[in-house]
């Protein structure tokens, strides 16, 4: 017993108190900024190196839904126009808002419809489905429950049964072999329900996009409520994205 108390004391106070204003490591790659200068004549070095076709040159536009934050384009740009900052606020409710231009200063999801906020604003239970995820996104989602991020304090939790869930969180590029289980799981969630895509894989297919082992039909057939970009997204990107979405 005494030893357990000692362990508790050793824990100290590791929690991130203010999830909206945390300080991430200097090198962490979050929201990119693009300098408002024209690209050098004929240059498309950034687009040429990008392994996932996430960036176009002249004017520079980066699609964070596709981007894996690798940072080849930042390195390749001779004009140093691209810089990835450690701003982790990059979740969005609209796919098109993930496209960063020189004018993008920040990305925040709009508040969900009133009905959704009324239903889920204080308590949101989610069922996660890994559909080809590499376990990177899954580890970060699991980290949401640790003593550092403790998402439960906001009433947001992962649950085991889709019947107890208010929505699903999809990771991975959706393999053929998981397409059916994903559908069955989604159907089992009672209405109203939301869909959250976590990670480059689920949003745009990542490097697996061209694989013939995927079946991404589900995404065309259903409305996506929240996109959480990153490879994998930082836990704080998830928390802050969801909090804004449910209006908190």
């Amino acid at each position: 017993m005494i030893d357990a108390i000692k362990l508790r004391i050793l824990q100290g106070d590791p929690i991130v108190h203010d999830v909206k204003n945390a300080n991430l490591p200097k090198l962490f790659r979050g929201l990119p900024t693009i300098v408002d200068k024209p690209c050098p004549e004929g240059c498309d070095k950034c687009a040429a190196v990008c392994p996932v076709h996430a960036i176009t040159a002249n004017p520079v536009k980066i699609d964070l839904g596709r981007c894996t934050f690798c940072p080849l384009c930042e390195e390749a740009c001779p004009g140093k126009l691209i810089h990835y900052t450690n701003n982790y606020h990059i979740a969005s409710d609209k796919r098109e808002n993930l496209i960063v231009t020189k004018d993008t200063k920040s990305i925040t999801p709009a508040r969900a419809a009133k009905k959704i906020r009324d239903y889920f604003g204080k308590s949101l239970k989610l069922r996660q489905v890994s559909a080809g995820g590499c376990n990177g996104c899954e580890l970060e989602l699991n980290a949401l429950n640790n003593v550092n991020f403790d998402m439960g304090r906001f009433g947001i939790e992962f649950v085991a049964s889709p019947r107890h869930a208010d929505g699903i969180v999809i990771t991975g590029p959706i393999t053929k072999n998981m397409a059916n289980p994903l559908q069955i799981c989604y159907d089992a969630v009672p209405n109203p329900k939301i869909i959250i895509l976590v990670g480059t894989c689920s949003i745009a297919g990542h490097v697996f996009e061209s694989s013939d082992c995927l079946q991404r039909k589900f995404l065309d057939e259903n409305k996506i409520d929240l996109y959480v970009p990153g490879c994998p997204p930082h836990p704080l990107t998830f928390i802050t994205g969801i909090l804004s979405f449910i209006g908190r």
Partner: protein, 492 residues
């Protein structure tokens, strides 16, 4: 009786391999297997010519590595299965059957590896079934209760006791090996990083070794040290996660959350170095992208000092708790004999007393100059797998502190040249789970035409099945967590 002796990361020309007639091939492979070799690859180097295959074999005891080539008549791709005498080859043969149309005759248990609903040997696959009074079946998955990757488990039980656990995977299959062939170099690194996202460093290290060996690229010592420090950080982080997992499964919440807190410090150290908590973006062909400087070393040392100090206290608490020991000891035990026969690797093998650690048996990178110690335990149960993690964390911390305190000077990044044409290379690294093998083969232009990956999970899932035999079904989560295997790495 001919085999090509090679070394880890040694580029060889394909014409050095002698492709002997089928029977010679089978005999040579059998002979090696009886002499303590393990299979680490079995596939045709040229997909367009499935009749020519190679077996890559490793003998960790003697640190030997060799390639045996064989020529099969193209209309008769069949052979007497090795698996009857050497169960360790069973799954490799299943994969050969699934991907390249071979028929292993009298194979004890031909089943799909990654494809669902495949027809093998003219029959659709049926799960193994136990029959009799009071026999029942429990099916779990593919979607499990937590935030975990998908897989299907079938327990054949008699009362509470599990007689057989069949593990059916493939749900995560993304076609990684095929994608390697069409990808350019930037894409390939990203693929390697995403093969198994909990082993970013282990897989990317193996992949870079493949490409750098094929192109005879030398890596500066400083870059090599940064690579192995990253590999050890990954090991510590995932071992902490595994320890937290087993603590959680026996209800020791304070211990689980303490390990979780330390894991955060370790992955944040990786982020201090590379910007990514998993070390994505760190590896480039010819070295690493990010360097140590006084600032990030400061941040990292501060975190790792806390880890070194606290992990001792937490380990002491866990491993002296009677409640924990009762659950850990003798649970999910795999005997050394079974472990050897089924070809268990990595942490799971070492906890059965098998000396098998790539960093020591086939050293690569900076492990050649700065060795780590081989640590083994003997009981092969949950206790051993948990305890071994704790011991390996100490050793990895020692290694990291030593390396960071004595960082060599020099360039961290060079250029990789062109790959040798018509050549091959076998690269093995020791990921935190165990042996990771990447094998590549090039064509006349130096383009990669065959790429094979073996994650340690490919060997070890069957170990989990064995561990469950005659164990209560309620011990499954604990056993599973003590192995902590990869679905994505297996399914590719």
């Amino acid at each position: 009786m001919s085999s090509l002796q090679i070394q880890n990361n040694q580029c060889f020309r394909l014409d050095e391999i002698i492709f002997s007639a089928k029977n010679d091939f089978l005999n040579t492979v059998s002979e090696h297997l009886s002499n303590g070799f393990r299979m680490i690859g079995l596939f045709p180097p040229d997909k367009g010519n499935p009749g020519r295959i190679i077996a890559a074999l490793a003998n960790s005891g003697s640190s030997e590595l060799c390639i045996v080539g064989g020529e099969f008549p193209e209309d008769k791709l069949e052979f007497e299965s090795f698996a009857v005498s050497f169960p360790q080859t069973n799954y490799f043969e299943c994969e050969l059957a699934e991907n390249y149309g071979y028929t292993p005759l009298n194979h004890p248990w031909l089943r799909p590896v990654r494809k669902q609903n495949v027809i093998l040997g003219d029959k659709p696959y049926h799960f193994y079934k136990l029959e009799g009074d009071e026999v029942h079946e429990v099916a779990v998955g593919p979607i499990h209760a937590g935030v975990i990757e998908p897989g299907h488990f079938r327990f054949q039980c008699h009362g509470e006791l599990v007689y057989n656990l069949e593990i059916n995977l493939g749900y995560q299959h993304r076609g990684v090996e095929a994608l390697f062939l069409e990808a350019d170099s930037n894409r390939r690194i990203m693929l390697a990083e995403s093969t198994a996202g909990d082993t970013v460093i282990g897989h990317t290290y193996a992949h870079c070794n493949v490409v750098e060996s094929l192109s005879n690229t030398q890596i500066g010592l400083r870059a090599q040290v940064i690579r192995s420090v990253a590999e050890e950080l990954e090991r510590i982080a995932m071992h902490l996660s595994g320890l937290g997992g087993v603590a959680n499964d026996i209800g020791l919440a304070i211990v689980a959350s303490s390990y979780g807190r330390l894991r955060t410090l370790v992955i944040n150290s990786l982020a201090d170095l590379s910007g990514s908590r998993f070390g994505r973006g760190l590896f480039v062909y010819g070295g690493v992208r990010f360097d140590f400087d006084s600032e990030n070393i400061n941040h990292i040392m501060k975190k790792l000092n806390t880890v070194r100090n606290d992990v001792k206290v937490i380990n002491d608490f866990l491993f002296s708790s009677t409640g924990a020991l009762v659950r850990f000891e003798k649970t999910g035990a795999v005997s050394p004999d079974s472990a050897f026969k089924i070809g268990l690797v990595g942490l799971a093998a070492r906890s059965c007393g098998i000396e098998l650690d790539t960093r020591i048996n086939y050293p690569y990178g900076s492990y050649r100059y700065f060795p780590v110690s081989q640590i083994t335990l003997s009981t092969g149960d949950v206790f051993a797998r948990a305890r071994l993690r704790a011991l390996e964390i100490d050793e990895s911390l020692r290694f990291i502190f030593e390396q960071i305190e004595n960082l060599p000077e020099g360039e961290i990044r060079g250029d990789a040249g062109d790959a040798e044409p018509v050549s091959g290379v076998v690269s093995i690294t020791e990921g935190w789970r165990g042996e990771i093998v990447h094998i590549a083969v090039t064509d006349e232009k130096g383009g990669i035409v065959q790429y094979k990956i073996k994650d340690p999970s490919f060997n070890n899932w069957y170990g989990l099945s064995l561990a469950l035999r005659k164990t209560e079904i309620s011990d499954f989560p604990l056993c599973n967590k003590s192995f902590d295997l990869s679905y994505a790495g297996h399914d590719l």
